[in-house]
């Protein structure tokens, strides 16, 4: 239960310093790939906190992503705000929505929570698709045609924003390992009824985490939308985003701070190698990986490299 940084954490800090300087050393393509990795590491990392630490399998995290994307677009296009404040504000909007949706939803447990969050995300997608028809005096989503955002000047801002998000989530996971909040969450994840009987407000704690992860996911969504200069309801609320988050967290090692980074890096590189023409093959490979890892290597890549929290074994 020590509070000093571990060897792996010092290494991570060094890696972060190197990444800050990376754009000076390499060209546009590696930077783009790195940005994609950071984005997925942030998303998978946020999902990993809920599922891996607090034991709550959320199958609808994409709802925050879509909210972030459209809120950022609206703030930039309608309120004329520059990108960074828009994304940050969009994150706050997403937190408010997450609080409102989370309060009833987090009363569900286990399979019901999983299905409930999935239903929530799919409802959000349908609502977003129909929004402009339902609320014509405040169009937001452009229906199935979507919304175009202004073109960005360069790619540097995306690199650093995504890097910050990834570092923030990973740092958060590391902080959780030795904080009161972290112990409470892990207690909830291990045995929520026991946690409750020991004085933990399980609903309140889960909601705090849910809202915090919503912020990260939303800002990521907003940043990705601006990066692509285009968003639409079907893609920004797509279950496939949830799927990727889940796979990467699982592959990297559920409940470990560096697992999502490893999973995101591995799968992004696989995807780059297989290329966009072979997207069906990529997804088949993902499916096989999910099955294989779940059955045979549930501790994921982090387990292989022993980057998990120190799991203390019994005396025997």
């Amino acid at each position: 239960m020590g509070a000093r940084p571990t060897g792996a954490e010092w290494l991570a800090l060094a890696a972060l310093a190197a990444l800050l300087l990376l754009p000076l050393a390499v060209g546009a393509y590696p930077i783009r790939v790195a940005t994609v990795i950071f984005m997925w590491a942030a998303l998978a990392g946020a999902w990993n906190l809920m599922a891996g630490y607090a034991g709550s399998v959320d199958l609808g995290p994409v709802v925050h992503y879509g909210v972030g994307a459209f809120a950022t677009a609206a703030l930039m296009l309608k309120a004329g705000l520059p990108f960074l404040p828009s994304a940050a504000l969009a994150g706050v909007v997403a937190m408010a929505i997450a609080y409102a949706l989370g309060t009833p939803t987090l009363r569900l447990r286990g399979a019901y929570f999983a299905i409930g969050t999935l239903a929530l995300a799919e409802s959000a997608k349908q609502l977003a698709l129909a929004w402009d028809r339902l609320v014509p005096w405040f169009p937001l989503t452009g229906g199935s045609a979507g919304v175009s955002l202004p073109l960005a000047a360069g790619y540097g801002v995306f690199y650093y924003v995504m890097l910050a998000l990834m570092a923030g989530v990973t740092g958060g996971a590391l902080w959780l390992r030795r904080s009161k909040f972290g112990y409470g969450l892990r207690a909830v994840g291990e045995n929520d009824r026991l946690a409750e009987a020991s004085g933990v407000d399980i609903h309140g704690l889960r909601r705090r985490l849910y809202v915090a992860s919503a912020f990260v996911i939303a800002v990521t969504g907003g940043t990705a939308g601006y990066w692509l200069s285009y968003i639409n309801a079907t893609e920004s609320f797509s279950a496939s985003i949830t799927f990727q988050m889940v796979v990467m967290a699982l592959l990297g090692g559920l409940g470990t701070p560096f697992g999502p980074v490893l999973g995101a890096a591995f799968l992004t590189l696989v995807s780059e190698l297989l290329g966009t023409r072979l997207v069906y093959y990529y997804l088949i490979v993902i499916g096989v990986i999910i099955v294989a890892v779940s059955l045979f290597a549930p501790t994921g890549l982090a387990g292989l490299f022993r980057l998990g929290p120190r799991r203390v074994q019994g005396a025997t």
Binding site: Y183, E190, R193, S198, G199, V200
Partner: protein
Amino acid sequence: MSLLDVRGVTKRFGSLVALNDVEFSVVEHEVLAIIGPNGAGKSTLFNVIAGLEPPTDGDVVFRGRPITGLPPHAVCRLGIAKTFQIPQLFPRLSVAENVLVAALYGHGASLADARRQSQEWLAFVGLAGKASVSAETLSVAERRRADLARVLATGAPVILLDENMAGLNQTEVETAVALLRRVRERGRTLVVTEHIMRAILGLADRVVVLNYGEKIAEGRPADVMRDAAVVKAYLGEAHG
């Protein structure tokens, strides 16, 4: 000065009446035993007091304040903590961390204080050597003691022990009783349910007897054991 009052508590599950108008008080610093044949409603009663189940009717009052219907974590923080019949753990956390959670959230201690308290309570129940191992490696008897340490770490003045000695052999029972005496010396109030009579009689100041969800006797152990209704409840009509 009664610390905890159970007033007219009734609990129905559909058409099954698990508790019927149960009423008694618990005095500060005493050891109260709740006994009765299997199915008498003892565990249900504990669940109602601890907030795990709402009563169908009646109230639970703690320090003069009604706590009926409060969620379990609130009841715990206010001052009533319960052990589990089948000892519960946070399996992949260490034994020390299991107790730490209770000190952090039940007692509300700071992280540094909670760490210290966790070590102290583990030493108190005799598990100091197991502090850094995974909780899931503990034996049943050790789990019972870890559960006790957890409950003590919440700082709750009232501790409900739900058959804490079930499955223990004679030596283990004696150790457990000695431990509970020391808990009582520390100023806690204990409400205990048990099937092991010797433990009860040696430990309890007063006894409440339940049968089919109703209170049929209350008083000092020696008196209650001679009560005709109690004998009948345990041994059947033929001996009444």
